[in-house]
Amino acid sequence: MKKLKITIKRYDGQKSWNQDYEIDYEKGRTVLWSLTMIREKLDSTLVFSSACQHGICGSCAIKINGKTVLVCQTPLDSMLNLFKTDRLIYEPMSHFEVIRDLAVAWEPKMEKMKKVNPWLIPIEAGTKENGFLQGADDFQKISSATDCILCGICTSECNQLEVNDGTFLDPFIFNKAYRFAVDSRDCASEDHVHPAYENELWKCLHCMQCVSNCPKHIDLTGEISALRNMSMKMGETKNQGARHARAFYEDTWKKGQLNETMLPIKTDGLLKTAATKVPFALRMMKTGKINPLELQKPVNGIKGVRELYDYAKEVEKSES
């Protein structure tokens, strides 16, 4: 009988170790099934979270061979095929505090989420007695964003969080900010957008890791772009946009120096965008001529980045 080899990263609150398990392979089973088998047949000390078993409660995400998935709706076969292996490695999500084994704590994330005022700030036309009128098209604007199940996969996969000191908001928090900022029943977009850009909205690398792994297919980077646009517009009236653009420019430069190994993945279009366009982005924004966030081709290595910065300075000089 075909065997399935599974290594699980264990943690008991003090020490951490890898433990190997072997179970009989069965066709068409989910990853959750494998965890349940291990726990019920081999080792009842194993801890993992799951509740609904059908992809709606968001409690069961873990990393499998580095890729974060909801275990309840991920077929084992898809993982075995993807990684072309008969050994799977289960680990808790990245960028979360681990409680025990594969279970993580959410409270710190919720404290962080509070920064964007993640609740409806109702327009005056609405009342508790009669609710609101909202067009079907306006509902469509929030429909996808409100699919978020707070599973944390986007956080676990986020490249900015990998290097960030923790200030950068988790992608699902940007989603929350966006969801209220565009809700026609909400009167205070700024109260959601402003804290987003105060908390490093501009540091998103547009690497798309969050989007491509989100089980609800939420267009997180699209939302981040939209938030940036909103923040630019708000910044203009408040004369803060320039400050943010500048911060973005400097930070990108620093990140490049700080973490060279991450660059091949991360030095994508944004660095180029930063280098070439941000210094004068505001001027162009005013005339609505450019989108400072459009994706460019990747740049290889820090060298390329620095060249770009130099080039940008040149451009700047020649333009002024």
Partner: protein, 569 residues
């Protein structure tokens, strides 16, 4: 010792509504305990929607019609005064949810959209695509964040402490630390959800739906009302039991047997697939029993066909259903029919509530709300879309009721609380040390099997008795159960062990109720008593737990304006 004016146990729709409404404009100290992170609660799994007679889609709809549908759906076992209160107040609650930011789907006039649902004479089910419970749960959570509600996540209610019929507080485990705490409280709201897991894997319920709060109240001397009424959802996915929303039938899905026939014409010629759940579930099982299903034995099924709705409508109205079928059954409903069969879905019975306006129980200080309790507005059978409605509406009144209770009560004494706390500390120690015995997973499977085969969709006296015997055996074995985890921190094996103890007790209450109700009514279908018997059984079952013994009693049903008649669809 920890001390709160109001402790809400459970952070689903009912618990969070209670916490919010107890806290608005009050200075009471309130805490919410939940064994899982709030947004994981099973309210989030409700796909189809929430009922309120708003009349946007159908101007002829009315409170009266919602009332009649609910009472008729309940097979006349619902308390009509409570149903009146419920249907009257639902439209207001929908507005309140809207005002909290719940993203409802909208009609062309900007009003909240409504869809037809099983057992409803007008399309009155408000929805948000097919994620209604999910968006309500998350909106309530957002409101709690704004309101600064204090959550204790990963805290597990172990027991309630009551002296002379007065609440003193509760004992709970801080699961992450493995610490057992006593909490003094003036009022407690139990909102711990259903206990579909008595059927273990044959249910649409989340893995944690184990009825802990229901069992805690039961232990504390509050009776269970109508526990024998278990709703089986007609359309679970055939291989996993995962629910396919009733919205599929609402949107016009067909049920087909192996001859390709829309067999519902035999059972509900007018309503067809839109007949109430119990009827559709039994119809499917009858088709299977009589050899017109696909597959064999435990793996039998019928088909649900949605292809005629077209891709666009499916993508727009049923996107989650499509994904479910893809992930769990490997079927794209745009191109193929999906195999379905009934699964245990909802518990009509639960902690007996004695006042539907405050959700108070027979013990002073304890309120109960949501699926864990029985008001009763669902009677022998709940209508689709009436449960999330129940949860948010009565959640509100439970919060207000608990607040009133807390304002009028003093803290009790702490001796009994400490005693109870120590009892649990000892038990936890003992279970962690124990290295041999019967594996509790095995006891669980034994219970579930007995329940599914003998106290399931079709019931017969002799078989129910068999189940009772098996349950007694399992309860005996439980005393020698062994958990296999000695750690203090986040000991899920211990938690699951306690949950199983609760399930066993509740399973036995279901079985006793089922055995003694010698009639067929709503979801309770007896092969040996096939007719409804109003003369003898138009009454609520009450099961008590006194000093280790189960005791049976009955209580009258409140009938106001709608006299029982034959239930035909």
């Amino acid at each position: 010792m920890m001390k709160y004016d109001v402790v809400v146990v459970g952070a689903g729709g009912a618990g969070m509504q209670a916490a919010l409404n107890a806290s608005y404009g009050s200075s009471l100290k309130i805490a919410v305990l939940s064994k899982i992170f709030p947004t994981r609660s099973h309210t989030g799994a409700a796909q189809g929607g929430i009922n309120a007679a708003l009349g946007y889609r159908d101007a002829t709809d009315s409170i009266e019609k919602h009332f009649k549908d609910t009472v008729k759906g309940s097979d006349f076992l619902a308390d009509q005064d409570a149903v009146q209160f419920f249907t009257e107040n639902m439209p207001k609650i929908i507005s309140e949810l809207d005002y909290m930011g719940v993203p409802f789907s909208r009609d062309q006039n900007g009003h909240i959209a409504q869809r037809p649902f099983g057992g409803a004479s007008s399309p009155r089910t408000c929805y948000s695509a097919d994620k209604t419970g999910h968006v309500i749960l998350h909106s309530l959570y957002e409101q709690c964040l704004q309101q600064g509600i204090h959550f204790y996540d990963d805290w597990f209610l172990l027991s309630l402490v009551v002296k002379d019929n007065e609440l003193e507080g509760l004992v709970a485990m801080d699961m992450r630390k493995g610490e057992i705490q006593a909490i003094q409280a003036k009022a407690v709201v139990i909102a711990t959800g259903g206990f579909g897991r008595v059927f273990w894997s044959r249910t649409t319920n989340a893995i944690n739906m184990t009825g802990d709060g229901t069992a805690a109240c039961f232990n504390a001397g509050i009776p269970l009302k109508d526990p024998e009424f278990v709703q089986f959802h007609p359309t679970g996915l055939a291989s996993t039991g995962v629910l396919v929303s009733e919205a599929c039938r609402g949107e016009g899905g067909y049920l087909l047997n192996k001859d390709g026939e829309r067999f519902m014409k035999r059972y509900a010629p007018d309503k067809m697939e839109l007949g109430p759940r119990d009827l559709v579930a039994r119809s499917i099982e009858t088709e299977i029993k009589e050899g017109r299903g696909f597959g064999e034995g435990m793996n039998s099924y019928v088909l649900m066909d949605l292809r005629h709705l077209g891709k666009e409508r499916i993508m727009q109205r049923l996107p989650q259903v499509r994904e479910l079928a893809l992930n769990f059954e490997g079927v794209d409903i745009i191109h193929e029919p999906v195999p379905v069969r009934p699964s245990c879905h909802y518990m009509m019975g639960g902690i007996s509530v004695s006042d539907y306006k405050t959700l108070a129980t027979s013990v002073h200080g304890i309120h109960a709300v949501g699926e864990c309790c029985c008001v009763s507005i669902h009677g022998a059978n709940r209508l689709g879309g009436n449960s999330v409605a129940d949860v948010v509406l009565f959640g509100k009144y439970a919060g207000l009721g608990a607040r009133q209770t807390a304002e009028n009560r003093e803290f009790g004494s702490i001796e009994k609380l400490e005693e109870e706390q120590n009892k649990w500390i000892e038990k936890f120690k003992m279970m962690r040390k124990k290295t041999a015995g019967i594996k509790f997973f095995e006891i669980r499977d034994k219970m579930a099997e007995a329940m599914w085969y003998h106290v399931g969709i079709f019931r017969v006296g002799s078989e129910i008795e068999q189940a009772l015997a098996t349950l007694d055996e399992a309860i005996e074995e439980y005393k020698d159960a062994y958990i296999g985890d000695s750690s203090e921190r986040y000991n899920m094996a211990f938690i699951n062990y306690v949950e199983l103890g609760n399930l066993l007790k509740l399973a036995k209450a279901v079985t006793i109720g089922a055995l003694n109700r010698k009639e067929s009514r709503g979801s309770h279908s007896r092969g040996d008593f096939t007719q409804r018997d109003d003369k003898n059984y138009l009454k609520h079952t009450l099961v008590y737990y006194d000093e280790g013994r189960f005791r049976l009693d009955y209580a009258p049903v409140m009938i106001t304006s709608y006299q029982p008649e034959e239930r035909k669809y």
